[in-house]
Structures are given as C-alpha cells and as structure tokens.
Point group: C2
Chain length 201, copies 2
Amino acid sequence: MKTKKLHIISTGKQKPEQLAEIIGVIHPYIDFIHLREKTKRAKEVYEMVELLADKKVPLSKIMINDRVDVACASNVKGVQLAYHSLPVEIVKREFMDLTVGCSVHSIEEAQIAEQQGADYVIFGHVYSTQSKPGLIPKGIEQLWSVSESVSIPVIAIGGITPTNSREVIEAGAQGVAVMSGILEAEDPLEAVKQYRSYLSE
Amino acid sequence: MKTKKLHIISTGKQKPEQLAEIIGVIHPYIDFIHLREKTKRAKEVYEMVELLADKKVPLSKIMINDRVDVACASNVKGVQLAYHSLPVEIVKREFMDLTVGCSVHSIEEAQIAEQQGADYVIFGHVYSTQSKPGLIPKGIEQLWSVSESVSIPVIAIGGITPTNSREVIEAGAQGVAVMSGILEAEDPLEAVKQYRSYLSE
C-alpha cells in the first residue's frame, strides 16, 4: 500500500509562535500544513507563513485556507477552498501555480469540485468531533461513497485518531486531516508519529 | 483646475441587487467604485462584481477592499488595502496589474504607503461622520499636512458633503470618497451630480 497523506490543520486557537514551535518540530512527518485561521486578517496569516519559514518548515507543504492572495504572495503550495471561497475553476484559471484543495460534505460537492479542477477534496466530518459539536457525523460509509464517486484523492477529516485512520484508508481515503489530535496533543511529535505509523503500513 | 476624482464606497449594508441598481445609474459620474463589504465572503464579493458588470458598470472603475484575490479573479481595476491587509509592496510585486490604494490615518502611514508603491491613499476621516461615531475627526489641517507630505494623490474621506468638498480640494486632496452621502441619498443620481459639480469647477 502506498503511503497515505497526512494533513494537519491549524485550530485557530493557538498563538502563531506556539503553532510555529510545534510545526517546526513535526513537519518532517507531515505532507500538508493548513493555516486555517478564520479570525485572522490577511497580514497576520502572511506573517504566520514567515514564522513557519523561520522554523525551516518547507513552503511546499503549506496550504492557506480561503485566502488565495495570501497563498500567492507567500509562495506556498496552495489553497484550501470552502463553499464561500472563490470558485475552484476561477482559482485554477487565475492562479495556475497553486494546488487547490476543496472542502466538501457530500458526493455532489465532491464531484463538482473535481469537475472544476480541484486537486483533491477534504471530506467530513467522518466521526464525531469536538470542532463540530452536535452535528451528526457523515460516517465511514459516506466516505466510501465519496471515494468511489471521484478520481481525485479524498482526504478524511473529523475525529480521526491513529487507530481509526486505518478504517478510513480502507474506505478509500487517500489520507487524513487532523487538527487537535496532533496540535493539542500533550506530545505532538509522538502523536504525529502514531498517525504516520498507521498511514504507512 | 483639473477635475478631481470621485470615489464611492459601498456601505456594506445594502443588498447586492440594490447596490448594483444604484451604481448602474450613477457610475458615469464616478471614477472609482469600491466594494467594501466587510462581512461578505470572497464568493459573495466576486458575485457582486458580476452583478455590477451586468449593469454595464466598467470593471476599470471597480476597486475591491482588502481581497486581492477577488480583485485579480474579477479583472477589476485594483484593491484598497488597510493596515490589516497584505503589505502594499507585496501586492505591487505579486499582482502588478492592479492599482493599489491604501487607507491611511496619519502623515507617517501615508509616507510608508507611498514608499511601498501605493498608487494613491485615502485619508480620513476628515469630518465627523456617522460611520465613525465618537471618534475625533482628523480635520482639514491634517489633510493639508498629509497632502504636502506625499506626491501620490490623497483622497479625502469622512463626512464629505458637496459643499465641503471644495474645502478639501483646496487643502490639497485630489478627490473625495463618499459612502452614505451618495448611496443612501434619497436621489443618488442627484447627489452624485452635486458632488461632481463641486469637483469639476
């Protein structure tokens, strides 16, 4: 089995310096680092990328949530788009160098993202998660259906643990996206290694 | 005296269709139309530009607040940046086709904007205005000082009326920026013509 991708997504709650400190340590075990800082303005996110670069985090692993301009100006890998972002096809046309991921919540959304040129989708939330309290998770079967319905990689998000990540991979996911499970772990390096061990077998 | 510029700035309170309706009528009298929609997401602002284009508003008059990516994707004239936006020099370097305006509140900020390559600055608020309740206006003398301190055009904002626009022009402003004074006027076309008459003499 080919090694699956491990995405890490910032929680928006950690201070930039704290986040940079953690990612500076764990980035060798991670494929994509998403800055998803919903309350921060463009300049702050731009400066967060500079902090990560200072910690020798490769720009080629960094994805910016929603702000295509910040991604472009920072020379990072790409952007993660949501339903309220610029349309995928527009971003692919106007910002050709960027990798474009799209956050989806159904088969239909995943198929539209693929048609519009998304390089991958993040689908969730698969399991119950603190970050989506009270919302019914999509479950492993819907993950399987989404994986079957598109040919671009599907990354699973939401309540993913090291142990259940094997199940999501078996359901067709090409990787997992993790927030607090790594970034808020007591030992983030140990946590990331655990995820990695289940994704590399 | 050369004709001075008239900028109009959306209030963020009007519905997109309503705003497009008004601007569709008054745009021939305006030099720059700013979409300053702080609570709207990228996709909504992008769609607002489409609405304006449907009303035959020239894209070459439209400026987008803060979102460089939306400006770029919409092929409009440029962006209006604030202190929390991407830095002016980065935007000028990465998005060379865009006109870049910068919102400033002091001589120092105006000079920095000029050094970084801003095409013009908007300075204010000059007079008391409903949109800045409780804040002391900068006043006409500070406008004069700012105009003296940079060689790029200074556009005055804040409480500008048709009659006091002559005073701000005499203080060195190369134009005025108006929000509610036109967009919330009982007759926006009549209002814009009044401003224009004072700016063209």
